[in-house]
């Protein structure tokens, strides 16, 4: 991993997107389902996944969407981005969702449906199973 923005320990199944995510308006704050039909995760739920995507984009209010999905128990277990943006970083900081960034090579090597784990306190390695 490159940077730890919100620390934590997590294990789960990858939901990967090649598209950036505009949390406001495209992620349903009750169900965690992606509602943008132009998005590659259209109709998929982010709940209890390790959400891997390039970066957050768009409206600053998206941070509240992240806080809302956490409060509604529909949030990802962790998020992994190529590039950290403010909306995702601060939403995860308040909601206490672990957030790390990774290199482009590592990003390409992670596949949808993979099981992975990391613990930012003990090492900066991601473990793949």
């Amino acid at each position: 991993m490159k940077k730890v923005l919100v620390s934590g320990k997590v294990e789960g199944i990858v939901l990967k997107s090649e598209n950036s995510i505009n949390f406001l308006g495209t992620v349903d704050k009750k169900t965690g389902i992606i509602s943008d039909r132009n998005h590659d995760l259209f109709e998929k739920s982010v709940k209890d996944t390790i959400l891997v995507f390039p970066s957050g984009v768009g409206s600053s209010v998206g941070a509240y969407t992240i806080y809302s999905i956490k409060s509604n128990n529909t949030a990802p277990l962790a998020m992994i981005c190529q590039k950290a943006d403010l909306t995702v970083a601060t939403g995860c900081a308040l909601a206490n969702i672990p957030l790390i960034t990774i290199s482009d090579e590592e990003f390409s090597s992670i596949k949808n449906g993979m099981k992975l784990s990391f613990d930012t306190d003990s090492s900066n390695q991601i473990h793949y199973q």
């Binding site: 940077k3 730890v4 923005l5 919100v6 950036s20 505009n22 406001l24 308006g25 495209t26 704050k29 509602s35 943008d36 132009n38 970066s55 957050g56 984009v57 768009g58 409206s59 600053s60 209010v61 998206g62 941070a63 509240y64 969407t65 806080y67 809302s68 956490k70 409060s71 509604n72 590039k83 950290a84 943006d85 403010l86 909306t87 995702v88 970083a89 601060t90 939403g91 995860c92 900081a93 308040l94 957030l99």
Partner: protein
């Protein structure tokens, strides 16, 4: 990010839970934006006001922190969900109204100015060149950096709130001198505000933190606002730097073909059931211009016009609101097209607008189709 001893102590919780939360948010922000320290700010502008966007979780969060949190610097506020003067005309439920008023109350308790506007740069005096501010509203952050000689991150709702409470913000890349490696060359002839909105949307998809932009020509306020609104919707980029940039910059043309791509992505209807003007909200110049265009004409369908309360009051004194109401406009302050709970797919299939930002959120959040037209075209097609 380096913190002073006092900042470290706040992060550890030695100055209370509110300060600890605010510092945790700013540290995550600083790590995300390669900041090495915090710098003092003079003005914060907050998003996260409309109950439609922040929901119960947001309402409860604000209510809880407002017991102890107070802002340290001048702090202004984005639009909310309705205009209290005419909310009874729009059939919003009691729950929405009471939750929205609770949000309003929480911000006021924290010492925030209830401006309910997404165009703070147009309704307040701009501080001196180079002043550090923290603007969350994306069109306002881009406008501040590009046209007002202010310095801001493209803040999130939380980083702006934390900055307001602490009176500092991370010294992020957007606050420093920047040399973007991309130059966008405007190649579309005779652009109107819709063209500039699409140009902004295109630039936001390509740029990272800032882009050079050339070939813009003379722009009026409506066009600059449209360009900032478009860019804020599609990406993370938050500054236009005017000019060709260095010779080794990658040059990307925004031509008729690229414009058509953006248009096809956002325009999903041939006509609308109602018209909305204002995202960003209209300033007094635009209201004056609209009143002029509507002389002797009337809209043949509903037309919602969104503007800040201060502008509505000025417009009323001058007589513009009478003129607009005569032409069939519904005038709404304190709220905006974007994420409005007043437009529902239960009774509207499609909306006509000249706003690229409005189009994106109407489609993705309200779930209605969008018909894009410039203001001149709207007046020509939809009034008699």
């Amino acid at each position: 990010m380096e913190l002073t001893r006092e900042e470290e102590s706040a992060l550890k919780g030695e100055q209370g839970e509110i300060m600890q939360m605010a510092y945790r948010i700013l540290v995550a922000t600083g790590e995300a934006t390669d900041a090495e320290k915090l710098v003092p700010i003079e003005w914060a502008h907050l998003s996260g006001v409309n109950y439609n966007t922040i929901g119960d979780a947001g309402e409860e969060f604000l209510s809880s922190i407002s017991k102890n949190a107070r802002v340290k610097v001048k702090t202004t506020l984005n639009p909310m969900g309705f205009d209290i003067d005419n909310v009874s005309n729009y059939g919003l439920n009691e729950n929405f109204i009471s939750k929205q008023l609770s949000i309003k109350n929480s911000y006021e308790t924290m010492g925030v100015i209830p401006s309910f506007s997404c165009i703070p740069y147009e309704i307040y005096d701009i501080p001196k060149n180079g002043t550090q501010v923290a603007f969350a509203e994306s069109n306002a952050a881009i406008h501040a950096n590009s046209f007002d000689n202010l310095k801001t991150n493209k803040e999130s709702a939380f980083s702006a709130l934390a900055s307001a409470i602490i009176g500092k913000s991370p010294y992020s890349s957007l606050r420093k001198e920047d040399n973007p490696n991309i130059t966008i060359r405007m190649k579309v002839k005779n652009p109107n505000e819709l063209t500039y909105g699409m140009l902004g949307f295109f630039a936001g998809k390509i740029g990272d933190t800032s882009v050079n932009i050339s070939g813009l020509g003379e722009m009026d306020k409506r066009q600059t606002k449209a360009m900032c609104g478009g860019m804020g919707t599609s990406g993370t980029c938050a500054k236009f730097i005017f000019g060709e940039g260095d010779s080794d910059c990658e040059k990307i043309d925004f031509d008729e073909k690229e414009m058509l791509n953006v248009h096809d992505e956002l325009n999903t209807a041939e006509k609308g059931d109602l018209i909305t003007l204002g995202s960003p909200q209209l300033g007094l110049d635009e209201i004056s211009d609209l009143a002029g265009k509507l002389k002797g004409r009337s809209f043949q369908k509903r037309c919602m016009v969104f503007l800040p309360r201060t502008v509505k009051e000025q417009a009323r004194k001058i007589g513009y609101t009478n003129e607009l109401e005569r032409a069939g406009c519904e005038i709404l302050s304190d709220c905006c097209t974007c994420l409005s709970p007043l437009i529902s797919k239960d009774n509207v299939d499609a909306v006509t607008t000249n706003s690229i930002k409005g189009a994106f959120y109407l489609k993705n959040s309200n779930g209605v189709d969008v018909n894009l037209k410039s203001l001149s075209q709207i007046v020509e097609d939809e009034t008699r």
